[in-house]
Symmetry: C2
Subunit: 923 residues, 2 copies
Amino acid sequence: MTASQPHRRRAPALLVHPLDGFDRLARRLSGADGVRNLLGGKGANLAEMRSLGLPVPPGFAVTTAACRAFLAGGERWPAGLWPAVERQLRALERRTGKKLGDPRRPLLLSCRSGARTSMPGMMDTVLNLGMTDAVREQLAADTGDERFALDAHRRFVQMFGKVVLGAPEQAFEDALRQARAQRGCADDAGLRADDLRDVLARFRAIVAAHGQQPFPADPRAQLRLCVEAVFRSWNGKRARDYRTAAGIPHDLGTAVNVQTMAFGNLGPTSATGVATTRNVTDGGKAIEGDFLVQAQGEDVVSGTRKTQPVAAMADWQPKLWRQFVRHCKALERHYRDVQDVEFTVERGVLWMLQTRTAKRTAQAAVRIAVDLADERRIGRDEALLRVQPEHVDRFLHPQFDATARAAAKAEGRLLGTGLDVSPGAAVGVAAFDADTAVQLAKDGQPVVLVRAETRPDDVHGLLASKGVVTSRGGRTSHAALVARQFGKPAVVGAAALRIDEATRTLTAADGTVVRAGEWLSLDGGTGEVFAGRLATKAPGLDDRKLQRLLGWADAVRRLGVQANADLPEDAARARRFGAEGIGLCRTEHMFFAPDRLPLVQQLILTTDDDERRDCLERLLPLQRADFAGLFRAMDGLPVTIRLLDPPLHEFLPEHDALLRETTTLQTRLALHAGDEPAQRATLAERQRVLAKVDALREQNPMLGLRGVRLGIHMPELVRMQVRAIFEAACDVAAAGVRPRPKVMIPLASTSAELAVERAELEPVVQDVLRQRGRRIPYSFGTMVETPRAALVAGRLATHAAFFSFGTNDLTQTTFGISRDDAATGFLQEYLQKGILHDDPFATIDRDGVGELMRMAVDRGRAARPDLEVGICGEHGGEPRSIAFCDGIGVDYVSCSPFRVPVARLAAAQAALARQAAAAKPRR
Amino acid sequence: MTASQPHRRRAPALLVHPLDGFDRLARRLSGADGVRNLLGGKGANLAEMRSLGLPVPPGFAVTTAACRAFLAGGERWPAGLWPAVERQLRALERRTGKKLGDPRRPLLLSCRSGARTSMPGMMDTVLNLGMTDAVREQLAADTGDERFALDAHRRFVQMFGKVVLGAPEQAFEDALRQARAQRGCADDAGLRADDLRDVLARFRAIVAAHGQQPFPADPRAQLRLCVEAVFRSWNGKRARDYRTAAGIPHDLGTAVNVQTMAFGNLGPTSATGVATTRNVTDGGKAIEGDFLVQAQGEDVVSGTRKTQPVAAMADWQPKLWRQFVRHCKALERHYRDVQDVEFTVERGVLWMLQTRTAKRTAQAAVRIAVDLADERRIGRDEALLRVQPEHVDRFLHPQFDATARAAAKAEGRLLGTGLDVSPGAAVGVAAFDADTAVQLAKDGQPVVLVRAETRPDDVHGLLASKGVVTSRGGRTSHAALVARQFGKPAVVGAAALRIDEATRTLTAADGTVVRAGEWLSLDGGTGEVFAGRLATKAPGLDDRKLQRLLGWADAVRRLGVQANADLPEDAARARRFGAEGIGLCRTEHMFFAPDRLPLVQQLILTTDDDERRDCLERLLPLQRADFAGLFRAMDGLPVTIRLLDPPLHEFLPEHDALLRETTTLQTRLALHAGDEPAQRATLAERQRVLAKVDALREQNPMLGLRGVRLGIHMPELVRMQVRAIFEAACDVAAAGVRPRPKVMIPLASTSAELAVERAELEPVVQDVLRQRGRRIPYSFGTMVETPRAALVAGRLATHAAFFSFGTNDLTQTTFGISRDDAATGFLQEYLQKGILHDDPFATIDRDGVGELMRMAVDRGRAARPDLEVGICGEHGGEPRSIAFCDGIGVDYVSCSPFRVPVARLAAAQAALARQAAAAKPRR
């Protein structure tokens, strides 16, 4: 144990720390981040607020280090921890002149969890700790408010009973409901002292009946149990699920913040509220929030009572409001970002209980970042870093079609309106509990989660849903918070809707009933909820602030951003979204069009050379028109056209259907059932197709006759494509368009394949250009999508002017994993079991695939210094993959048109991160 | 052109060179190899023989450099070549006192092709060049042998007509046959001068009718055309096919050797023959060969006349025989290897016309190498290098089962006996021409090629066949030579068999007829030919000389050699063949056994946990018995057991058959045909199986749920396997056997997979060992068979004590090529088109797969210096791949038991090559 002695000597100071002395602690722990790691986000902010001179109730934190030690030691208290807590408690008693459990000068404490990263509602809190019968009576006498004292006591019993002793929440709620029914009041504020005395007795009975142990009488024992319970809640299922969904590591632990209570329910001059320093839905500059007179914080957050807008404080207590606004401004100035604060007014005295960086919608994130930069609070680079690339994606979320919306309203299908807390349109079948939502989503059904209010245990259901509707709760309610964070459209607090979870019905004011499994549409941007399915329309990107931000991004990024587009309308949209060319046009998509597929099938099925030539001649003008459209849409920008890639059988009818059909016909003929000559004729024709499908069938088509192999096998087909490309280029050039065709050869793994293919195709290009008498800038390149291609990249580069990484295929072959097969199978199992931390098909596997990519870039450039390198797999639109590509010297990424704005921002962030890393002095 | 001036100045000397001055030329060209490159093998040997003082007719070579210049210049004579030829010709005239085309002192020349590497019969030859009517008459007068002169003339017209002017060979043969028929003689020796005068006239008419140009009158023009024709023949189809099959580069070119003629047909004191200085069929020490009095060389080689054994010379001309034996000994001593010589006796004077290293059977190669080493002519290392690894394989060729052979003889199925020129038993259907043989072989049919005699254009048919039978030709006939080189069993000169290619029949002396497509069996080791199919038996390896050679190999090699074996009898055989352990036991092969498959299917199909457990419990003792057998067979040696690898659907019935069956039943039920309840029951059962097959079906099973993924997905299955392994080990250990189990985890591509699997399996091992109270040395390792595994080998090595390269899979994923799909498809196309030089599934692709392997070895050893590395793909038994593995530091190769002896020799050769490379001073 000698080696750990120094650590143990330091331990007491770090296991518990007062919510004070932020600056000293920050110096000791190398910065504010170190404090946040130790005290948790909430604790650190409390200490920091106190150092800013804001009114914060005094207290101390049992640190994350203590939590980790507790959990690592098999949920035992580490040596020295309890004495340290007691020391801090005594200091707090000295400071406040109050004493825990002493009826004469009672000290009441709040005891809240607070991790490094905020996990709203996920962890447990106990208020009013230190309450006993004697304390309550003294408190009633001191305040002259017996009702308040009883209410505080019953809350303590309820919370302690639930959090520490494991009594069921529902039992408490039922008891309260009965009391309200007896009294005939709508909410708890209507209950009188006698009612509450009765409630308290019932709560005690509930705890006695259901609690895992007797209610400890000693407040110090209560505190100890309370800290333990919070520590344990870190490893609770709902906390783990949340962290997994949010990508928060599981080994950080939480702190417990122990503070003196401030009572928002101490008579009509008391109040409590939550607010954000700006509007976190649209980014507007006004303070937004919810506020309740004579209530405790949980009343606001849980959404059980209808709140007032926070600005109503100005009418209630103008001076306090001004004070509050000042505090908000100070906090925003200090933290250089919008804050989410909790506060309480106890008999006219304002206490700030919490501050943290506010979560926000995508729209708000963009507006706030741009505004802060314009206000010179942050620089433009920092503004770029403040917006998550995924936020940009939210701007592209589907919206309801205006006509459809108008029609739905005309038909009386608008069920009601709630708070517009997370934008975007969602359509799905109603699910009235989280598990059902998950099940339906698994079956491929779009789901809308419908709850009176959501609780942390609903998160998995919310994540599985397209959107969420609640009848209760405000902008900062659990449902709103989580929906915003994960970009799910949400309407909350739609009080006009009666949501009955028992009967699984949603009843509108007009009596319309929506049952489980029926369709529901909601608009999180307007707060409207509709019965049935509303049509959604293609999204726009015309937000002025977003355009400014993306303009800044374009100025910063090194990576080019192009789009994968196969059709002129896609290309046009991509260009509007900022694409600087087409990085991948998949020509096969053109072949699947209904007017072409029969021709393509005939081409594949025929054994007659003349017929094949004829098919190709008929396909040529169609392809030419496709390419002409792309060139026009991308006038002056590169258009990278991949020659035919997929295995031929993909163009033919499905094998099993053919087999079933022919077997049925054979059986019928054998039994002499039906029209024999007709059946015989059909059978012969289908058997011919089946024979060809069988001949083309491959055991592993992913590793079969496709890509350049197909081009070498059927040179007339790719020759036709190249002819179409260059005839189209000449056609549009004659009309003043500047085409920049790039011909991309897929799936090469040897330089000989490229040499053979170029020898086949260059003469076609020359032939067309000579015939038309035009000069068109063009190049030939190849995809790098097998490990061998990366390994021999130096040789490939001698035959290719550009590379484009096909990271989908490269990932498949590097891992030996077929994405199609793995997606629903063992890959999910691997992710769940932590064998893989990330889905390599979602983000580039840096250790394997990434090393091959780096190798390909280095070897390719060594052989051809001006080699252009891009990426056109789906990774090309994923921010972490974009950062990796930026780091290894890729020239451009290409992604779906809708990801182009995301990629522009991600590329800028990658460039900033690279510059920051380069600027950092080496140690 | 300035840059090439120095080369052009040197050109005359190198374009043509006399067949003299070998030593001086060797000094100039840095060794004998340089001379061989320039003059071709035959020309170099002629020059070398002259320098050894052997009687060689004088002459000169038009060199390979001249050929390359001719071909590169579009088949034009390079500047200076013809003047150089004329200079050499004048020198030759001066030296012999004769003159080309001068009837008084006629100089007659032979004009033969001679490439760097011998290509027997592939290239063209013209004899008696310089013959004119006037010369012939003078020659007849000088020799007093008009018949000889006419015969020489008609040969010249025939060869020049065919080789240079392109007249059809068959026409000449027909004319000769007619002449023989008219005269009533069996062979050409029976033709008289008058007959030959007639033949000559006919031949001239044939050339006039069919020749591409008139027969030139001037002998110098003839010589020029002749050289051109030989040069052109280098690029002829049959020459290219041969080179492709033999792995000879296509860009070497051939030399033309122009020599004064020596006549073996100049009366009864003249003769001609071919011989090898030892027996090249069994390696015996006697000179072997064929000999014909009064004949020219082609009569012997083509097999058109029945030859005498060369030893008959001793009776014919004892003094000449002694002289010949001296020359043979001198040549063998000089070249330190068995020689294949051609000679002619012209009127009692012996001329040596050619010497070259003799081709030989596998048996002969081994015996000769061992004998030469024992005779101290060569060292043991060189003896090892003299035998091709594939030669060892020939020892393992199937032999006829003795009982089957006896029975066939008893039944009168022995059709006849010919020369035993290439050992091994072959069974196949008779094909009477090469194209049919190729076609049948493509259809998967084993074929025996049956020809009266073979010609170079038959080579593709011979390569496609299991063996060859001819009715004509001797040990050095074309058929014998090619069959030996490519290891095909062959019986030639089976004169008792009448082979009629027109009617496609083989008729035995007893009248038995074998027609095209009927079965035939032949033994190239005994010369026997049987009707029908004879059973073959597992081969032996008990040759004493081979055992000595392999013993020397074992002493030299660094690589270990292990075997891939799944059954105790395989393991036992492998050990007899010299395997030092089992490098790969595929446990799934045990699951396919008929007594187990139903159990395995039940295991896969059940959804009931108890039933699954029950299946596993019943499989456990079966697996245990399997492993116990392997441990006993490999007592004291490592046994590497791979955990279950293939996708589960491989154990279930085939999908399409199930679909056909269920569709038929459904159709029948819909039509109310047959016993409905029974059909309904069958349908339900089959549908259940089909549903499971469908559920397990993967689009790309090669990249799907298999290998370690299966183990992680179904841990109970691999736990059962590991239990079986260690229970078996304890069982046999109790009986005094020393088991050395190594557990191999397949298809890992991340270190987490190994960590998870080991955490799952180590406790099972410990549990068994504790229960049994035994200590067994064991280790866990993994296969490296995905590119990612190679890239992250350092991390894998922290969880694996050994690696084993699965190069089949690694090749598939590195190239993105499915072997099953590619074998009959585009991969063949790639090989034919030269896009790939070697099939990467046959020999390791060094640039791609090889680099990954090197990386895996280096990174693995960096992390774990004592990491053991093997290879167990099919490449493990292929000599070039073995050499590569030796070079990158692999510890052992594992291959099929039959390849073990091959691998032992290949490993020794690899070690010797590596040592030689290391010893060579760096420049």
